[in-house]
């Protein structure tokens, strides 16, 4: 009697749970590796994505099939985005005394972050779709993905651009800020949060509690302001 190994393998690969299985597995593996090494390039989302792509390509599963089997995770992304309002609210209560410096930095700094990227991209000759995907790169991934899709970019690429931005900001940010003579913890935190979102906030938390708090504040404010005004601005210009 010969066992149908090939058929069994096929049944496993094309089972609706296969996509969720490899996603959960890859994520936990990378998370464990990150906890052990604390290596900043081991961003869980970025590396899990590479592992999952590797498995899909090896097994010959198309993205469309994977996407369908992980539909439930995509549905949960909506309420998770809404839930971002809770940390933002808690952070907002902290800024009473520094209200004006924070708001000014947010508006001008946010504009500079977004416009610098668009201008540079345009100058380097990137096409429209890529530009629209890069525009929200300074904000946290779920928001960036929604905004990119809304203004004519691609959600998947936005997630990756956001991560690259965060990793670069986190690696060079602290040294660059010191070189520019920025020493106040509030200013360092805001700069890291506005330009390098969650990854920057993690680095800011390692500097001090105060820096981390302002980074979290900068990140969530930048997220909401970009989410609301970037689509409006694009719909006015276009």
């Amino acid at each position: 009697m010969s066992l149908d190994w090939h058929g069994a393998l096929d049944a496993v690969i094309h089972h609706p749970l296969f996509g969720i299985g490899i996603t959960l597995g890859a994520y936990q593996l990378v998370l464990a590796a990150y906890d052990k090494t604390r290596w900043i390039f081991l961003q869980p989302v970025l590396v899990s994505m590479l592992v999952v792509i590797g498995v899909l390509v090896t097994c010959g599963v198309s993205y469309a099939e994977y996407r369908k089997s992980t539909e439930i995770m995509n549905i949960l992304l909506g309420p998770a985005t809404v839930a971002l309002a809770v940390p933002l609210y808690l952070n907002l209560r902290r800024i009473r005394q520094l209200l004006w410096p924070t708001l000014t930095t947010l508006v001008i700094g946010g504009l500079v972050a977004t416009c610098a990227c668009l201008l540079l991209g345009w100058w380097f000759g990137a096409e429209h779709m890529i530009l629209m995907t890069m525009a929200p790169k300074s904000v946290t991934s779920p928001i960036a993905m929604l905004v990119a899709e809304q203004i004519g970019g691609v959600a998947a690429l936005a997630a990756v651009f956001v991560l690259i931005t965060g990793v670069i900001g986190a690696i060079f940010g602290p040294a660059l800020l010191s070189a520019c003579g920025v020493s106040s913890p509030e200013a360092r935190g805001m700069a890291l949060g506005i330009s390098a979102h969650a990854v920057g906030t993690a680095v800011a938390l390692e500097e001090s509690e105060e820096t981390g708090a302002f980074a979290a504040l900068g990140m969530s404010l930048m997220g909401v302001v970009t989410a609301v005004f970037l689509p409006l601005a694009v719909s006015l210009v276009a």
């Binding site: 309420p79 540079l120 890529i130 106040s184 909401v224």
Partner: protein, 120 residues
């Protein structure tokens, strides 16, 4: 507890979807939901226990939820390759510019406010 908070989040997202459909087609539904929830929290002045539990549980797994959409890059490999240096160049330069600019600006603003408070 968790379920009650989750129900609130879903309700706000659905409300956002309805508003997106009716009036604000340029803002995504979950974003409108986020802004509505923020306004609601500001009006109430506190975060209820079920809501805070649901929000922190969901947000703890946010990176995991982001993996499937990110895997979509495999479809866009050609687009990335075509604009590779433009993408890397503008991402790296713009984050460095933004960092330095925000840091210096915020520090100047804090110093100015401190001076003003000393004066009167």
């Amino acid at each position: 507890m968790l379920l009650r908070g989750l129900t609130w989040l879903v309700l706000f997202q659905l409300l956002g979807t309805a508003i997106n459909h009716l009036f604000l087609s340029m803002l995504p539904g979950p974003i409108i939901g986020l802004v509505l929830l923020l306004a609601y929290l500001m009006l109430r002045g506190e975060v209820s226990a079920p809501l805070s539990e649901a929000a922190s549980s969901l947000l703890r797994y946010l990176p995991l939820l982001l993996v499937p959409p990110a895997v979509g890059v495999m479809v866009y490999a050609a687009d990335i390759a075509a604009d590779f240096w433009a993408i890397v160049g503008s991402l790296v330069l713009s984050v460095l510019i933004a960092l330095a600019f925000c840091g210096v600006l915020m520090q100047k603003m804090i110093a100015r406010q401190a001076r003003r408070e000393e004066k009167p």
